[in-house]
Symmetry: C2
């Protein structure tokens, strides 16, 4: 008998019918003798409906009240799922952040979990009751309601699994696992049976949006096995686990891409200490996440500085550097909002030289110009013209990913104990 945390996303609890389906799935687990904690998101569309109401009453809704408002969405789905479980004859009770209690800092809208009191949940589980916990929310020191940001229910699930010492955290979603590439671009992309936390971190941040990145960080820190799988079937998905041995014995686990990229180049700026701080300090203060930064070595004390930002922040970032052209000593600004980032990710890169060179060869062979390059221990990313995205992904997938699974192990919740 295992202690299992299951998280169901907004689509999985998007209607009364879907909630009843989830209840049946939970009941099946419970009949096997497992202790179950279920974490739910708000019903699909509900968070946006509430935020829309907020924008109708206030031009700039404050974060504290917005959090209290949207947290009601998970309250509704948690209570409904508990009711549906009771209707199947199970004992079930719903819990909110303040009841568990899930303590966070006071960063409304993007709060971080600081601690979780496991005692009430463990007492609840002890008598066979299924605990249904509202995801995405906690309370700060003053009992104000906080939310963890979009996708925060993943983090709630993993954090609860860590606090309770659960055997596995199952993330039920509308995709059935982590793929070696986007199946819409690479039809023969295959589902990974297992992937390491580090690979998942790189894949998640690169656009393979099956699991919130902070949830993966949490899982890695507390070594929580995470099973990403579909709520629409019983097939095993992808296990995200600690790297314990050469996994699947392959160089590259996946090819990721991200079209949400815009590029800004400051032309011919004086290459002196403090320049980067002067450019990126205000941009960071405005909450804009800069992804890649490239500065060429300069011979004449004059350099070009290029960086990428999400497209939604492009105009804001541009106006910030434009407003300070004199102060920065910039002699011109070039921009490109039609770029994409393509990355290969794999633990195998650590011990294999020449992966980058081969990547560049593959792209050159397709006539694709590389605009920017960024590397980490287990990832190589390039920025290319957006129109080459599909071509680059397919070519890299063909070059690096074996056409057949290197192993056919299919992990399941039972195995992971």
């Amino acid at each position: 008998m295992a202690l299992i945390v299951q998280k169901y996303g907004g689509t999985s609890v998007g209607s009364v019918e879907r909630i009843r389906e989830v209840a049946k799935r939970v009941a099946a687990y419970q009949r096997q003798g497992h202790r179950i904690v279920v974490v739910v998101s708000a019903m699909a569309g509900e968070t946006n409906r509430l935020l829309d109401l907020a924008r109708q009453v206030a031009r700039r809704p404050s974060e504290r009240e917005s959090d209290a408002l949207v947290a009601s969405g998970e309250q509704v789905s948690a209570a409904l799922l508990a009711l549906a479980l009771q209707d199947l004859g199970l004992k079930a009770a719903s819990f909110l952040g303040h009841q568990v209690r899930i303590a966070t800092d006071s960063a409304f809208g993007r709060a971080r979990i600081q601690s979780i009191d496991k005692h009430r949940l463990l007492a609840t589980l002890a008598d066979g009751t299924v605990a249904v916990v509202a995801g995405f929310q906690g309370v700060d020191r003053d009992n104000n309601i906080t939310t963890l940001g979009r996708g925060g229910s993943d983090t709630t699930g993993v954090a609860l699994a860590a606090a309770l010492g659960a055997d596995v955290c199952e993330i039920f979603t509308d995709v059935d696992g982590v793929y070696t590439g986007d199946p819409r671009i690479v039809p023969h992309a295959r589902k990974l049976g297992r992937v390491s936390y580090d690979e998942m971190l790189e894949l998640a941040s690169l656009g393979a949006k099956v699991l919130q990145i902070r949830a993966v960080e949490f899982a890695k820190r507390y070594r929580v096995p995470v099973h990403v799988r579909s709520s629409f079937g019983d097939e095993p998905g992808t296990m995200v686990i600690e790297e314990d041995k050469p996994m699947e014995n392959v160089l590259v686990s996946g090819v990721a891409h991200d079209r949400d990229q815009a590029k800004i180049t400051l032309l011919r700026v004086p290459d002196r200490p403090g320049l980067a701080a002067k450019v990126f300090g205000p941009i960071a203060a405005a909450g804009i996440v800069v992804d890649m930064i490239i500065q060429n070595a300069s011979a004449d004390g004059i350099t070009d500085l290029t960086f990428t930002v999400p497209r939604g922040d492009f105009q804001k970032a541009l106006s910030m550097v434009r407003g300070d052209e004199g102060g920065l000593g910039v002699q011109g600004i070039a921009t490109d909002t039609k770029v994409a980032k393509v990355s290969i990710v794999g633990l195998g890169m650590r011990s294999h030289a020449g992966v980058a060179a081969r990547m560049f060869e593959v792209l050159a062979g397709e006539g694709i110009n590389i605009q920017m390059i960024s590397t980490s221990e287990i990832k190589i990313s390039v920025v290319v013209d957006e129109k080459y995205t599909e071509l680059a992904v397919r070519a890299l997938h063909d070059a690096f990913i074996p056409s057949r699974p290197a192993e056919s192990r299919r992990p399941s919740a039972q195995e992971s104990r």
Copy 2:
């Protein structure tokens, strides 16, 4: 500068536009320097929408989860009103039952407030912030969410006013005060400028549904002046206050009626000790509120026992007595679901004899047969055939209520300090 608690019902916050109107009203008070606590109900229709969802996932929704579910409705309206106030430039913060904190017993769905911690709200008010409190809800000792029953936001408002030592609790609703009779039946019914707690208790329980009866009990116990008024205008409504002097110098303050009545008569039952307990014990245990009970004095040891229940509980109550006819020694059961209760209420009755006699004369003059009679110190109620309801109300209003106001004082929030 006063400390004012204002409660707005579901219709008053029924839309984004209405919420913005409420915000403007609150802002006007705040500009006068008053400290304001606002209690809100869920947006009109929301509680029923949520309960409907509950019934779709569970045949018999449990009370704990139903409470957690519907409490989200007030969470939404409280956050939205706080946002609307902030949009007008005010400082505002919303609070839920667990944040205030409003401690109740664990009677889910009909919880009673046990204590209110005033410190957080007073600290909030001290710096000019408007506190918006979600009505209708509290938390029990284990932090479970409880609700106070339909209309419970009135109770929240009055209880907060009592705990904070507020100068007045203003109940904003979709009627503009307490009338001497139902204006749909008595077109010349007039609005009462003031009414005592005791009269209001009798009027409320008799169907003049402007204020929840438990809210009046709370107001009476803690001597909270309550001002019932319309949220659609600025006219003063009705002050519900302690009886301090002969009020308005009239015998009868109002004529109330209640069509939600059904009558059950147990025919020729043995008149022996313990009969009433045997009949009404199980009915009370089933949560059915019996209103009037009449038992005729018996000469031969055999009596008829008649009682009334709300029509919604009629079948249930009937099946309970039917099931035990043998045990009770009943020789027959007569029923009538087409009856109504008509009552006259007034403090003046205490010191005036002959009011009842005159009431019976008035009804006899209209050819209306009286089926049951029940009296209290300040009220006389009769049960009549439902078809005579309007006729009885009009005749009694004409006979007992002066056609012009005995006084024209118009109390306001300011006066009540």
